[in-house]
């Protein structure tokens, strides 16, 4: 289990995370939702040990710096490897190669391309593939749907469901409400570095309305019309 208790992260004058507590268990998907600057990425960086923090973080009972971070596979928000790297080389750095992930994410067609020649969405798919193919008990994805088109979002959702069935714990940060609602078992809403709500599906719309001033269905309706 990833456990975060009373987490404070300060950057310069600003308190980016202000007493955040939450947890992610194996076999569930927790979705981290919040506006830009609400502290989603900082929380993820703290869990992976890249941010100095006050408070407690344990991954299966071990602090990130003492080896807990090695139980997590991560996709960063700005996944951008060196331009000359080939997709095949990046896949080669993974622990294992999962043919289904490669097929579902459509990586076969770009296997021998260099990162510098890929589009934003293609690069994103490579990053997701890299995170999913490393065999760790927890997977953290920061904005996985950025630049992805709808067909790949759907395939991503089914891949993520399969990972949860395999018993992995997923933490996904997104501001895509529709995607978040579909993959999440529990939802953590962040506002100004604090946890505003932790809820399951039933409270999702209420929390959305409180945090964003609009809810998912209103947004869907607006886009349809």
């Amino acid at each position: 289990m990833i456990e975060v208790y009373n987490l404070y992260v300060r950057k310069g004058e600003k308190e980016v995370l202000n007493g955040v507590s939450m947890e992610v268990d194996r076999g569930e998907t927790v979705v981290l939702i919040g506006e830009n600057g609400s502290g989603k990425t900082t929380l993820i960086r703290a869990i992976t040990g890249l941010e100095d923090y006050k408070g407690e973080i344990y991954i299966d009972g071990v602090e990130p710096e003492k080896g807990g971070k090695e139980k997590i596979s991560v996709l960063s928000q700005d996944f951008n490897p060196m331009a000359y790297l080939k997709v095949s080389e990046i896949i080669g750095f993974c622990d294992s190669v999962d043919e289904e992930v490669i097929k579902e994410l459509g990586l076969n067609g770009i296997f021998s391309s260099r990162i510098g020649n890929l589009s934003g969405g293609e690069r994103r798919r490579v990053g997701i593939g890299f995170a999913l193919m490393n065999d760790r008990p927890y997977i953290i994805l920061d904005e996985p749907t950025a630049n992805l088109d709808i067909s790949y979002i759907n395939r991503l959702i089914s891949l993520l469901r399969r990972k949860v069935e395999e018993g992995k714990g997923l933490l996904i940060a997104t501001h895509d409400l529709i995607f978040g609602r579909e993959v999440g078992d529990r939802f953590v809403f962040l506002r100004d570095g604090k946890v505003a709500y932790i809820t399951n599906e039933e409270g999702f719309n209420y929390a959305c309305t409180k945090v964003f001033g609009t809810n998912m269905y209103t947004e869907v309706m607006k886009r349809c019309v």
Partner: protein
């Protein structure tokens, strides 16, 4: 590819060493040491460039462009002003570590390059001034130091720098997987147990101190560090267990060749070897920058 390059290196080494009048005294005491220094110098610069580009995530990074080499030369010259080669070496290493403290803070790439331009301009001017204090008639030496000229050194010096270079190279090769993961991304590398900032500082210190040795010995040699790793990554592979040795070999061959030309073109006089490497590589440098213009 590695085997071909090694063969080529050996062949060129023999050619450049034994070309002309074979005379065992000259070969053993002058040509072998000089060619070895040239080879190690080019190789080390290319190795440093490859590591800089990866850990700083900046395709245009290398000791020369970032002003690190110029700064080190300044340290060396100050030491030399105090009339001692040893102080020069110590000061250049100290300046190397100072530069690492600055570059590992990772300014935005453009700022870092522009600061490098400033530091280079300042250092080169200061070096020329300091040399004229040293001895007004040593201006030629100072100018050649800012372009890079391979000196004749004793076989012992050659052995020591070969050993240091080999150890640094070996260390980096053992950690090449960490460099691979860093080239994918910092967060991604963390889950493999890599500590990005420690990895960055260790590899920068090692390559920069290596650079300091060759800057003190040879002077400022530009573009090898930048262009050679690009050539290797473009033609062959971006995996560091291949990038590092191939860059080393190719850089070494290029600089050994430049030194050969430097000795031969206006024989019996001599041109600084850095002139030829820059002449060959700066067009390629422009090519690399042109390719990266959309990033």
């Amino acid at each position: 590819m590695i085997i071909i390059l090694i063969l080529l290196a050996v062949l060129l080494f023999l050619l450049f060493t034994f070309y002309g009048n074979p005379n065992s005294y000259i070969v053993e005491n002058l040509r072998v040491p000089r060619n070895t220094v040239a080879f190690l110098c080019g190789g080390s610069l290319a190795l440093s460039g490859a590591v800089y580009q990866t850990v700083l995530k900046n395709p245009l990074a290398e000791p020369y462009i970032l002003g690190v080499a110029g700064f080190i030369l300044l340290g060396y010259t100050i030491g030399k002003l105090l009339r001692a080669e040893e102080i020069g070496l110590a000061l250049s290493s100290a300046f190397a570590v100072l530069s690492v403290m600055y570059i590992s803070k990772r300014l935005p790439p453009k700022h870092m390059l522009l600061v490098g331009v400033g530091v280079n301009a300042f250092s080169v001017s200061a070096v020329l001034v300091l040399y004229s204090f040293l001895d007004p008639y040593s201006l030629k030496e100072s100018v050649t130091k800012t372009i890079g000229v391979v000196p004749y050194v004793s076989i012992w010096v050659v052995l020591i720098i070969s050993l240091i270079t080999f150890l640094v190279f070996l260390f980096l090769m053992l950690r090449s997987r960490n460099l691979d993961l860093l080239s994918v991304g910092e967060l991604e590398a963390v889950s493999f147990g890599v500590n990005p900032s420690r990895e960055r500082v260790i590899s920068l210190v090692l390559t920069t101190v290596l650079t300091a040795i060759f800057v003190s010995l040879v002077g400022l040699v530009g573009f090898i560090g930048l262009v050679v790793p690009h050539i290797v990554r473009f033609i062959h592979s971006s995996v560091h267990s291949k990038v590092l040795p191939l860059s080393f070999l190719l850089g070494g061959i290029i600089f050994m060749g430049s030194d050969f030309l430097a000795r031969m073109v206006v024989y019996p006089a001599e041109i600084p070897a850095g002139v030829f490497s820059s002449l060959m590589l700066s067009p390629l440098f422009i090519g690399v920058v042109w390719r990266l213009r959309h990033d």
